[in-house]
Amino acid sequence: MSGNPIISFENITKRFGKTTAVDNVSLTINEGEFFSLLGPSGCGKTTLLRMLAGFEMPTEGRILIDGKDVSTVPPNQRPVNMVFQSYAVFPHMTVLDNVAYGLKMDGVGAAERRERAEEALKLVQLAGYGVRKPDQLSGGQRQRVALARALVKKPRVLLLDEPLSALDAKLRDQMRSELTSLQQKVGITFIMVTHDQDEALAMATRCAVMNRGLLQQVATPSDLYEFPNSRFVADFIGSVNMFEGTLDVDAKDHAIINTQEMGPVYLDHGVTGPEKGTVWAAVRPEKIELHKRTDTPPKVDDAPEGYNVAAGVVKHMVYLGSETNYEIEIAGGRLIKVVRPNLTRWDQEDFELGEQVWISFHACSPAVLLS
């Protein structure tokens, strides 16, 4: 999927006065990727994107596009184009003039301009809308105009700033798959900024998670979810049960984390972490199983008896159709989130509020986090 490196950020730092918006970020993005910059608001992801577009200059470091240093190149001379959060469609121009504007700036002749603009409008399924004014379009249509306007210049990289945030839920789902297929069709590298983890996981081929100006992790969506490298990433992507403990045993083929809330947690792999140091075991809710309460606790098949099991009481349950969300209170009062798929039509009736249960998870399920 991904080819040669097309963009690299080299030790980029951006300060606004005393606040550091982006802190020593190094990142390489490859040709043909649908890359997503993900993070909570104020994490510096938009600043990073704006530096790539040329609207901000990095305080330190270099930005390379196709191996050329563009750190100080003004935005109108960079081979990147952007779809703005507000779409920024020029209100006093027709749709066609909007789309052709970039070509006009490049000195493309009127006839070719028109032809290419109409082609771009066809690409975003707005053929025939060229004569309209932006105020005659819906929000979704204006976004398509913004897309066509950026794509018509055949940029090396297309930048998208929170592209779906202004759309209503139904349109957002539709645009998600449309943007993905559009990207595959045109083969241009897309870089999308978003605060919505679902959006990033669903669309991107690779994501960078940022927090407080720092790059936390760069990985594929599934790696971000299954192999987070920090508590922040584990918590920001999806929901998680986190258990703090000390790394008591760290052997070649297994490890044991002694947690206060969950007891000893058995892992089927070594950690090579700080022996006797503080670590965290993070278990996703859907990886925890519920069992009817019996006298003997259930045994997890890849862990010795008595590990990765706890007794609890069903405190909350929410039926969501495809799955049911439970909150199980274990000894010490800690609430454990459990998601249970409804595999048959009767599954949601297996457990009821206040019922005594066992919870368990496999030795391969927890992610061990060192920070």
Binding site: F84, S86, P91, H92, K133
Partner: protein, 296 residues
Amino acid sequence: MTATTAPVKLKKIAPKTPPGPLEYLRRWPLQLWLVLVGLFLYIPLITLMIFSFNDSKRNIVWQGFTLKYYDKALHNDSLITAFGNSMTIALCSTIISVIIGAMAAIVLWRFRFVGKTAFNAGLAIPIVVPEICMGVGMLVFFAKVLPWPHDLPWPLDLGNIIIAHVSFSFPFVAVVVRARLGSFNRELEEAAKDLGASEFRALMDVVIPHIQPSLIAGGLLAFTLSLDDFVITFFTAGPDTVTFPVKVYSMVRFSVTPEVNAASTILIVVTVLLTFLALKFQGSSALTAGHGADDK
């Protein structure tokens, strides 16, 4: 409303509903007040207009309808010259005011610089300072600092008045344009640059179209301000240059003939028309360029 059943219903219900608690306009005390205020404001102007048609030299008692004083006013050479001067001054000062005012507004909107607050406040001074003070100031300025030569060709002989008028009208333009810039979406400008436009092209292609209604409104405002300014012009103008308001004033000093009324009526009509246009452009500015796209 256009449905066939709706009007019937409305007609039956509308007169019966009692006025709501805040519908003061439907209670008689406020209606009376409204009428009184209207009369107070407009009776003098209406009287002036009516008496411009009065067939009497002294213009105290109504003698009958005539248009001869309009004819007389339009054939009064010095009055026509004064009107031409006023128009020239208003046109020149408007063009200069719009350019300077728009530039001042863009600077205030776009940049942060040392002394910005002072500059902002300084811009408001010509708006709030009493005209008489500015008039005396101009008199001293053109007498001592920059004596204006007498024998310059047209329209340079009006230069001192134009300068004076620009100095009090461009802040109005700046205020109007600045307000309009407040609703400008900066991403539009960035989008233009992103698509390859230089700083200047982005300004011309995106910013100027957005503020265009305010440029027109501000220009019309400057035009009317200049056209009917008396005090400052009176102090600034030399003995040879006479503007329309100054000429009317000098005519009144001899006697208030219907000719003065006729000349004033023409000025009122021109001013009202231009003000109306100015308001219309300013009002519609919220509906046209910019907003459709920014809101969502």
